[in-house]
Symmetry: C2
Subunit: 145 residues, 2 copies
């Protein structure tokens, strides 16, 4: 079973328990294709008669984040958005300021440069995030009219 696998691979942290809320949240995270925040999880589970308290959702998100099961996509607008990590290696995002569309991309040259810059400053890079904000193809076309 995939779910148990994830718990074993990522969360085997001594005294952690595989609880119903955690499994439900993990299932949601695993199967959803979108970026999500705490409310998305809360609402989706509630709609499916699987209600879990927001407190537990926040606690579980913090746990998953610490263990690398999920990562933060953006924290702008003071609301944290996450994404599932498994089978979804690091990448960056372009965010359309008109329609909110998020385009994922990965560029090895940029990553390489980042490492170089950090070396220059004797800075030990742990993680980074880069957001390019602007207009997506569609919104640019619309705006021109």
């Amino acid at each position: 079973m995939e779910i148990k696998e994830i718990f074993n691979n990522y969360l085997k942290n001594g005294t952690l328990k595989i609880t119903t809320p955690r499994v439900k949240i993990l299932k949601f995270i695993k199967f959803t294709k979108e970026h999500f925040d705490a409310d998305d999880i809360y609402n989706n589970l509630k709609e499916n008669q699987q209600k879990i308290s927001l407190a537990s959702i926040y606690r579980t998100l913090a746990l998953f984040l610490k263990n690398g099961v999920i990562r933060i996509v953006t924290h702008a607008g003071r609301k944290a958005k996450y994404e599932f990590v498994k089978d979804n290696p690091h990448h960056d995002h372009m965010i359309c300021i008109k329609c909110g569309k998020i385009i994922e991309f990965k560029n090895d040259d940029i990553e390489y440069m980042q490492k170089k810059v950090c070396e220059k400053y004797n800075f030990i890079l742990k993680e980074h995030n880069m957001e390019l904000r602007g207009l997506c193809k569609n919104c640019y076309k619309k705006r021109k009219k």
Copy 2:
């Protein structure tokens, strides 16, 4: 007078008024060398018997942000930090996850690559922000001990 110049250059938005609170905030922003948040402005002005309500500070920050007088440095930890734009061209930041130190840097190669990536996706880049998180020189040394 520099202050008036800024109001004319950036904020000449039809019906905007040059008010005492706005001038005080602009002066603080202009002369401070650090990155600042709403509280920094509030406390600094209060210490100098120039108290302005937090509400007005938030309103003014939003106004300055929209008009390009300031820009957001980081929004992580759900508190927005800003910096003055004038005479301070775009750059990116390394943020120490231990002591919070912010190191500014600029790398033209990275900027160039970003443009390239955007072209590839037909994305019209308006602005970007990049945060590299990790350990600064000092904190790395300390941690090794």
